[in-house]
């Protein structure tokens, strides 16, 4: 039995363990830190830069190497490199600090880019720049959740940003054509969903051009289709109602 004293205690400092359970057994490989994600993404192509050693362990920190029999039984081969590659690709790992940092940063940027694409300054109808959104996100102390999709988080960010600055989703411009019969009734129902009605033309049919929040599109679509039994129609004139071109003062 080894005596566990600081002097003969070997710390595994530069080791990231990748584990995989297969066939009821646990296998581990010893890798370098901050490298496994790169390997999985394809940025790192040299296996020796990822693996500390080409051997497969049962427990890395105790230094117990997996038995050859077990390996052949579960993986069907005894080529250690091949097994290592499999474990690398499918095993579970603890994400290292730098990996997590860069992942969160990328997501943060991504969220800001999505927000900047979707939103405008309601006063000028011009988009905000990504860097401004980033700063605003930092101001409200938004923390990125690694598990949620960036798009979902972007919508959350827009909601939160509305409290501190002038921002709104860029409106869609829609044209609605409603049959005269249902026109009046439907208009009342649509009213809360429409942001701005730009023009309204009521002769044989009710024709409206209006700006709506993109979030309401599905509802409006549904409403018109169900209520008019397909006689009304809906057309998107522009996806984003923004100012175009440069403006010189």
């Amino acid at each position: 039995m080894s005596i566990f004293t600081p002097t003969n205690q070997i710390r595994l400092t530069n080791v990231a363990v990748v584990r995989m359970k297969k066939g009821g057994k646990r296998f581990e490989i010893a890798c370098y830190k901050n490298k496994v994600m790169n390997w999985r993404a394809g940025a790192e192509k040299d296996l020796d830069e990822v693996l500390q050693t080409h051997s497969v362990f049962v427990n890395v920190s105790k230094g117990q190497v997996a038995k050859k029999d077990d390996l052949t039984k579960t993986f069907g081969t005894d080529d250690l490199t091949e097994i290592c590659k499999q474990i690398l690709a499918k095993g579970e790992l603890q994400v290292s600090d730098k990996e997590r940092h860069s992942q969160l940063e990328t997501m943060f940027r991504d969220i800001a880019t999505i927000v900047a694409e979707k939103c405008v300054n309601p006063e000028t109808k011009r988009p905000y720049t990504v860097s401004l959104i980033e700063r605003a996100m930092k101001d409200i102390h938004y923390s990125v959740k690694a598990g949620k999709s960036t798009k979902q988080q972007a919508l959350e960010v827009i909601r939160q940003l509305k409290e501190t600055m002038e921002i709104q989703r860029a409106h869609m411009r829609l044209r609605l054509v409603l049959p005269a019969k249902e026109g009046k009734r439907l208009k009342e129902k649509l009213k809360p969903l429409l942001q701005v009605v730009e023009s309204e033309d009521f002769d044989e049919e009710l024709e409206m051009v209006c700006l709506v929040d993109p979030g309401c599109f599905r509802e409006i679509d549904e409403l018109i289709r169900c209520e008019t039994k397909g006689r009304g129609s809906l057309e998107v004139l522009s996806l984003k109602d923004v100012e175009e071109g440069e403006e010189k003062f």
Binding site: T13, A41, K45, D110, T164
Partner: protein
């Protein structure tokens, strides 16, 4: 010392000075009426050659500042940062009074900045003047900005006089002997004259060229003479004996012209003054024995007359006072000069004080300079007819083509009369912002007796009120304490203090309110009256730069004036001048009226005038030629507020800044960036400071602007990176290649890529497949499409309305233009590959009008061509493919989405053609659809559905955003929808994916935005210019020498991505001798492949396995991807073994 900005900090705030000094306002008003004795002049020079110091000396001569402080105070540098940095940043004017003998003169002096970043301010100053004082440092000689200002003065036709400044540096720093100093001065004079000479020759050559082009037909005889011989240029040059040169040391307060010494010595030596005047400068010497002035001093090794009589005196004075500090000698000199020196000066520990005390009395610089100015510079009355014509003829229009009434105005200019009937003509060269508090009407004045009495009364009243209030309070309190109710004790007291508080609050509010009002900036126009008498409150026409007098005259009724209601005339507006000011440096003095020939400030124009304008009472007046700026703004930065909620303040501030700065440009880009364009780094710094402290009053941050890119595909290259033929070589398989091969040839069940680049995508429910190929467009086609964006947009609109069965009336010209575009496209797209391609164009993209198109190569699918609005579109075959027609829109939408953001870094595509070669909607989808046709209601629904989804292009986005809702409301009855999404929606996604894959199957390239860059540089810095260009990936197109000068004009292209800091670098490296101009020109394909890795043996040898030599395209691509938060293929740590992994507490 071009960039170095010495910090000469002077506590200027402590010197409170009386603005008007010795001369009263009434005196100046009286002088203004006499244009013959008015001089409008500016001081021009290279940075740090002593303009403002000289101006200080002149200002001191009027007693506005103490002569002791002259040169240290820098009175005209009124901004704080000007004082801190020690450079002038704006032009500012001051009116001075000078009497020479019995003549009294009014001098409107404008001090201008010397730093190249502010050369726009020089332009604004030069325009308003008739003459200029050019200051040259005696040590540094002619510098880049000296050349620039001489050129500016020349272009504006104003007469320069020369001041060679800082002669004391020759004595004290360089320790030259008087003889050496003489030769040095001579050299400087030659340099200056050389610049003037080259300006003159280039003008003569230009005129000659013009003449030749006019008369080139006809006579065949070649004229050998350049015309230089005939042209008289003797008046142009600076020469002391002409009296247009002053030697000075402004810091020590002395200066002289030859005349002064000629007069002194003619009395002492008994030589005629005229003779001395001619011989005092030049190769003459005094023969003491013969008592004669002889020629050829240099040859005989004698001292020149100038050295002997002038310089030696000054040298010995400096020697006695500063170097040796010889008390006795000084006293002797002082008595011989007849100068009185105060005891405290002579006892001062710093010898410079004594020196300037002596010199400023012996040879006062203001005397020398001002008398030269009054004698040599023209008055407003002597304005050259040539200059007037130049001012009045805008652009290429010749003066004699202007309307007759306008030509008559020339007389008014030349007469410069201030009569009531003369038309008022004013030119505003810039607008500057002044604190509203600093305006004369808001300034604190000594109170009159009445006002004092009034105030006393008010104060007494207030005091009485307070007394009674106190009394009531104490009384009530007493009452309450009498009643013994201690709990209620507090309340009434509180009440009374409450009322007191509220009155206090009201007055406080009032103060605050007025304070807010006062904080605002008021814009004052920096202007000059050219003709007529301008009165306070007068209404005038404001003529914009594009105003055409001929048009204006025809539209306005005869004899109409600005006070009437004016009909709409383009570029003409009316405005009243709310108040007029005399500009006195930092101060303004209110005036009732200003006669012709004077410089003034006008308030109340900020609504009508942006930066510069022409004001006139006559609509016949043409707008003056625009100011010609030496430096165009080229430093671009994006500006953002620190707190996003302060955006409106920033926009307002930037608007104000734009008006207040003649050179800065401000614009909002489509990306929402607020971009500020300035002339240089120092100018930028000033603009940012202004924005922060004056105009916006918020925290801002400036950053590199976003650089746009485009993505495109090219034909597969024939040779590899080391110029070897690709066909013959064997590819070397390497580890990292294997992985790529896998992705290249991947064919999953929904996606298939064949080796020729045809991509086939099947939608998830297997009901439709689409095959797309990406083809690079010829460069000319891309250019053509980009040029005709507007046209394609209108084409699209016409098509849209035609599709809906509406009739639209399109102008014939548009139709012709569309037909022309089609013909041009057909012309450019020739060859087997493009057979009939133009007819088959399906759509343009992105946004329906971009430089990419979708090609219909589906066999058996005929659809209306985009050109059907031209009337030739036959409706044949429409019925044939009705099944897939319903999904036509989905394909277009998919294409639009794909072209809007490419696979490389989500930037728009450019110059790519996507050809749809196969497109099936499988029968399983069709029967359902046909079934639904029978049921009326459902078919409508399906149609509407496909239409909606198709035209939105958003199925993915919309569904993404309302994922939660749609889950709940997924319509069960939708015929064409299954467990995935409706077919049309899936088709959009499939088409987008297909386009992206097809794009990736071709060799991809990045396109960079390019600037054309024009650089003017002298021959000696040419090499450095090339160096800077080369370092920044620039390419020189051509260079040529400007005729008659030693300037080269270099034309180059430079990627926008590399332009940040370019102007600054090129100026630094060439010591300001090269000035670039950048204009966006075109998009250019970056030749390197961002995904390139070495594949052949040769490339291996050359680049190694990793090919980690710089790949420009990869660098750009990764930068964009990183900015957008996309995945960047980069290792987090390069070497696994070499990372620091120990945590900190172990």
């Amino acid at each position: 010392c071009f960039i170095c900005l010495p910090v000469r900090s002077v506590d200027y705030a402590s010197h409170s000075v009386l603005a008007m000094g010795l001369t009263s306002l009434d005196k100046i008003i009286a002088l203004q009426r006499n244009p013959a004795n008015t001089r409008n002049l500016c001081i021009l020079a290279h940075v740090d050659h002593g303009k403002t110091t000289l101006a200080d000396c002149l200002v001191a001569s009027n007693g506005i500042i103490s002569s002791r402080l002259a040169g240290k105070l820098r009175y005209l540098d009124s901004r704080e940062d000007e004082q801190i940095r020690g450079i002038t940043m704006k032009s500012s004017a001051i009116s001075l009074h000078y009497s020479n003998g019995d003549q009294e003169y009014l001098l409107n002096l404008i001090d201008s900045p010397g730093h190249v970043d502010f050369s726009s301010e020089v332009s604004t100053a030069v325009r308003l003047c008739d003459g200029a004082i050019v200051v040259v440092d005696a040590v540094e000689g002619v510098c880049p900005q000296t050349q620039a200002v001489l050129r500016q003065a020349w272009l504006e036709n104003i007469k320069p006089v020369l001041v060679i400044n800082k002669i004391d540096r020759l004595i004290m720093e360089l320790k030259l002997t008087s003889q050496e100093a003489y030769t040095h001065l001579q050299k400087i004079l030659e340099q200056v004259n050389a610049v003037t000479g080259s300006l003159f020759t280039s003008k003569v050559l230009e005129e000659r060229e013009e003449k030749e082009s006019e008369t080139s037909s006809g006579d065949q005889v070649y004229d050998w003479s350049t015309g230089l011989e005939e042209a008289d240029d003797s008046q142009l040059y600076f020469s002391p004996d002409q009296g247009n040169v002053v030697f000075a040391s402004a810091i020590d307060g002395w200066g002289f012209s030859i005349q002064q010494f000629a007069q002194i010595y003619s009395q002492r030596m008994g030589v005629r003054a005229e003779v001395l005047l001619k011989t005092l400068w030049g190769d003459f010497y005094l023969n003491a024995k013969a008592k004669k002035i002889m020629k050829g001093a240099q040859a005989k090794g004698k001292k020149q007359l100038f050295v002997q009589l002038v310089l030696d005196n000054i040298w010995s004075l400096y020697d006695a006072v500063v170097t040796r500090r010889d008390k006795e000698k000084v006293e002797k000199v002082v008595t011989s000069l007849g100068v009185k020196v105060m005891a405290r000066d002579s006892r001062h520990s710093d010898p410079k004080v004594l020196l300037s005390a002596i010199c400023s009395q012996w040879l006062p610089v203001s005397q020398a300079v001002l008398s030269m100015v009054c004698e040599k510079l023209p008055s407003p009355l002597d304005m050259a007819a040539e200059k007037v014509e130049k001012l009045m003829s805008v652009g290429a229009r010749r003066f004699d083509l202007l309307p007759e009434q306008t030509q008559e105005l020339k007389k008014a200019f030349l007469q410069c009369s201030s009569g009531e009937d003369a038309p008022a003509i004013v030119f505003v060269s810039k607008m500057f912002a002044v604190d509203t508090k600093a305006l004369p009407q808001n300034r604190q004045r000594p109170l009159t007796q009445d006002e004092i009495a009034q105030r006393r009364e008010l104060a007494r009243q207030r005091h009485a009120d307070r007394m009674t209030a106190d009394q009531t309070a104490t009384e009530s309190q007493r009452d309450l304490t009498h009643s013994g109710n201690t709990s209620q004790d507090v309340q009434p007291a509180g009440l009374s203090t409450g009322t007191l508080n509220s009155t206090l609050f009201i007055s406080f509010y009032f103060f605050k309110h007025t304070a807010e009002e006062e904080q605002k900036e008021t814009f004052i126009a920096f202007a000059r009256v050219y003709s007529g008498l301008v009165k306070k409150g007068q209404r005038v026409f404001v003529l914009g730069p594009k105003y055409d007098p001929a048009q204006g005259l025809s539209m306005l009724p005869e004899g109409c004036s600005a006070s009437d209601c004016v009909p709409e005339v383009p570029y003409l507006s009316c405005c009243s001048m709310e108040s007029l000011y005399l500009l006195m440096g930092r101060e303004l003095e209110e005036l009732e009226q200003v006669p012709a020939g004077n410089v003034l400030g006008i308030r109340g124009l900020e609504e009508c005038v942006l930066k510069s304008a022409t004001l006139s009472t006559s609509p016949a007046c043409p707008p003056f030629t625009p100011l010609n700026f030496e430096a165009t703004p080229i430093v671009r930065v994006a500006i953002e507020p620190k707190h996003p909620s302060e955006m409106p303040k920033l926009v307002r501030g930037m608007r104000l800044l734009n008006q207040a700065d003649p050179c800065a440009e401000v614009l909002i880009q489509e990306t929402g960036e607020h971009v500020l364009v300035t002339a240089g780094e120092v100018h930028l710094q000033r603009c940012l400071d202004d924005l922060r402290d004056r105009f916006a009053k918020i925290e801002i941050s400036a950053s590199k602007p976003i650089i746009p890119f485009r993505e495109t595909v090219v034909r597969p290259p024939k040779v590899d990176m080391v110029n070897e033929d690709l066909g013959k070589q064997q590819k070397v398989a390497i580890i990292h290649q294997v992985k790529e091969e896998v992705t290249q040839g991947r064919s999953s069940d929904t996606l298939h890529v064949d080796p020729s680049g045809l991509v086939t995508v099947t939608i998830p429910n297997r009901m439709a497949t689409v095959s797309v190929r990406a083809i690079p467009l010829p460069e000319e086609v891309t250019h053509l499409l980009e040029r005709s964006t507007e046209l394609i947009r209108s084409l699209e609109q016409v098509n849209m309305s035609l599709r809906e069965g509406k009739t639209v009336d399109v102008s014939l010209r548009t139709m012709e233009a569309i037909a022309g575009l089609k013909a041009q496209l057909e012309n450019l797209l020739q060859g087997r590959k493009w057979r009939n391609a133009v007819e088959r164009i399906w759509a343009f993209g992105p946004r329906r009008y971009g430089p990419n198109f979708l090609l219909n190569s589906v066999e058996g699918y005929q659809r209306l061509s985009v050109w059907h609005c031209l009337g030739r579109g036959d409706k044949a075959g429409e019925a044939g493919a009705a099944v897939i027609r319903d999904f036509d829109n989905s394909i277009v939408s998919g294409f639009q989405l794909a072209t809007l953001s490419g696979p490389m870094c989500e930037e728009p595509l450019m110059g790519v053609c996507f050809s749809v070669e196969r497109w099936d909607v499988q029968s399983s989808a069709v029967p359902q659809h046909q079934d639904s046709l029978e049921e009326n209601s459902i078919s409508h629904e399906a149609l509407a559905n496909s239409r909606v989804e198709g035209s939105t292009k958003t199925s993915s986005e919309v569904e993404g955003t309302v994922a939660g809702q749609s889950q709940a409301r997924r319509r069960p009855e939708a015929a064409s929808a299954d467990c995935y999404r409706p077919v049309s929606g899936q088709l959009i996604a499939a088409m987008k994916e297909a386009c992206r894959r097809a794009f990736q199957a071709q060799p991809q390239r990045l396109m960079a935005a390019m600037y054309t860059c024009e650089i003017m540089a002298t021959a000696e810095v040419l090499g450095r210019v090339y160096g800077v260009l080369g370092k920044r990936e620039g390419r020189v197109l051509h260079e040529e020498m400007k005729e008659g000068t030693d300037m080269f004009i270099i034309k180059a292209v430079l990627p926008v991505a590399e332009s940040f800091g370019f102007a600054d670098e090129i100026r630094k490296r060439t010591s300001g001798l090269a000035s670039p101009q950048l204009v966006f020109s075109h998009w250019e394909v970056i030749s390197s492949d961002p995904h390139w890795v070495p594949t052949t043996e040769e490339e291996y040898l050359h680049f190694g396995e990793k090919a980690d030599s710089a790949n420009q395209a990869l660098k750009y691509m990764n930068a964009v991807r990183r900015r957008k938060g996309l995945y960047v293929e980069e290792k987090i740590v390069e070497h696994a073994e070499k990372q620091r992994t120990l945590s900190k507490n172990k």
